[in-house]
């Protein structure tokens, strides 16, 4: 989706649920993927994704296309939710049962089990991710956005609301800290 079309859709989404649905379809996988790579847990990723999109819905009226794109705004909300999760470590799960409206009766249990199995097949990623998750959140964010989401420095600075120079130095220090955790090269 190009930027102009996205701008139009965001404005439309403030009045029209169908437009909001389109935006959701566009970004769900990206946001869920980002969160999953940050927390490496399928259920937690689902909950943080739900919380992120509920916050998006709640605050959509406030969103103005000023200095930050809609995509960056979504990633920022997601990053904040992930940071909350890491800080509290007792994330309050969003329960679909708590939402008064009826939800599809499809049992998602099989999907969760299968997805978790798929995730566990990426052993190298999980090992690396575990080491990243031991770093302070500020380093986790930049490393994940740069290498897993393949975001350019400019966009990371937009998402995290920090200067590009700050992002570069955070990235540099984060990599140094991560390197310290990696096993030495075998000769």
């Amino acid at each position: 989706m190009n930027l102009e079309k996205e701008k139009e859709l965001v404005e439309k989404a403030k009045k029209d649920p169908e437009a909001f649905g389109k935006l959701y379809d566009e970004y769900y996988s990206k946001i869920f993927g980002y969160i999953l790579k940050r927390v490496a847990n399928f259920e937690i990723a689902q909950d943080i994704t739900s919380e992120t999109f509920f916050k998006v819905l709640k605050n959509l009226w406030k969103f103005r296309w000023q200095n930050i794109s809609f995509s960056s705004w979504l990633y920022r909300i997601a990053s904040n939710e992930i940071a909350n999760f890491f800080r509290k470590k007792k994330y309050k799960m969003i329960s679909f049962e708590k939402i008064s409206e009826p939800i599809s009766s499809n049992n998602p249990l099989i999907e969760i089990v299968e997805a978790q199995e798929k995730l566990e097949r990426h052993k190298n990623f999980l090992i690396l991710q575990e080491k990243i998750s031991n770093l302070p959140i500020k380093y986790q964010e930049v490393i994940s956005l740069r290498f897993f989401e393949k975001k350019p420095i400019k966009e990371i600075s937009e998402i995290l609301g920090k200067r590009e120079g700050t992002i570069k130095s955070l990235l540099h220090r984060g990599l140094e800290k991560l390197r310290d955790q990696m096993p030495p090269n075998k000769h």
Partner: protein, 257 residues
């Protein structure tokens, strides 16, 4: 591990790309079901946001208006208080003068003090019993008050403005006085006119930019005082030339031998 190796590892690592159609669908349903509830809140907040600047402007205006209406009054009261603490002004006020006008410019207040009624320079030899203030020939004064230091910076006495009446005007005044039933009733027929004069006009303060000017009030121009004398007694009749009537007749006093 070398830094370059770590970067290479991060760039090339196989990432999990897992689809979650069930969660995606359920979350979408939940969000769309909540959409209209949230939309209502957005609309309310949007109204608040639209009207917030108007509200803020209104509050600022109220504060400014209050500041202009209440604080100047408060400052005027303060200036009056400071002026009245000055012994000279206090004496004038005790003898019947009033604080007629006050203008405040920055930290300086200009206080106009004038006799409550215009006091004419009546020939004192003939009427020595007339109120004391008359002897002082006090026509008014302008006091400058330093509001910051709360003290009088300067007091300047005002020079009276003499308005000469034409012969025609004097004749007209005499005619009005003669015909006046009030004068006929109070003043004996035998009394003779001692003097006819136009009272010096009252002063007023006019603010011009950052300065204040003392100017005469023009409305007094068409008024005159007729002083009558009979034996040792003196009366005053106040004539309004423009309305061609006598406004007031009063007994001034008795001449002491």
């Amino acid at each position: 591990m070398e830094r370059e190796d770590l970067i290479k590892k991060l760039e090339e690592i196989s990432l999990p790309e897992i689809e979650t159609p069930s969660h995606k669908r359920k979350l979408k349903e939940a969000l769309l079901n909540k959409y209209f509830r949230e939309k209502r809140s957005w609309e309310i907040f949007d109204i608040f946001r639209k009207f917030a600047p108007i509200g803020v402007i209104t509050i600022i205006l109220i504060i400014l208006i209050s500041a202009n209406l209440i604080f100047p009054k408060y400052s005027l009261v303060k200036a009056k208080e400071i002026a009245l603490k000055d012994p000279q002004i206090k004496e004038w006020v005790e003898k019947g003068a009033i604080i007629k006008d006050i203008e405040i410019i920055k930290n300086q207040a200009y206080v106009l003090i004038q006799p409550a009624e215009r006091i004419e320079e009546v020939p004192t030899k003939e009427i020595p019993t007339i109120v004391e203030i008359r002897k002082e020939e006090f026509n008014g004064a302008l006091a400058e008050v330093n509001m910051k230091e709360k003290e009088i910076a300067k007091i300047e006495k005002l020079t009276p403005i003499v308005i000469t009446l034409t012969e025609k005007e004097e004749e007209k005044i005499k005619e009005i006085a003669e015909k006046s039933p009030e004068i006929q009733e109070v003043i004996p027929k035998e009394a003779e006119i001692l003097q006819i004069k136009s009272p010096s006009p009252q002063f007023k303060l006019i603010r011009k930019g950052n300065s204040v000017q003392v100017l005469p009030e023009t409305e007094d121009k068409k008024k005159a005082s007729v002083i009558y004398k009979f034996n040792k007694k003196q009366w005053e009749g106040k004539v309004n030339l423009s309305e061609e009537k006598v406004e007031e007749v009063k007994f001034l006093g008795e001449i002491e031998e």
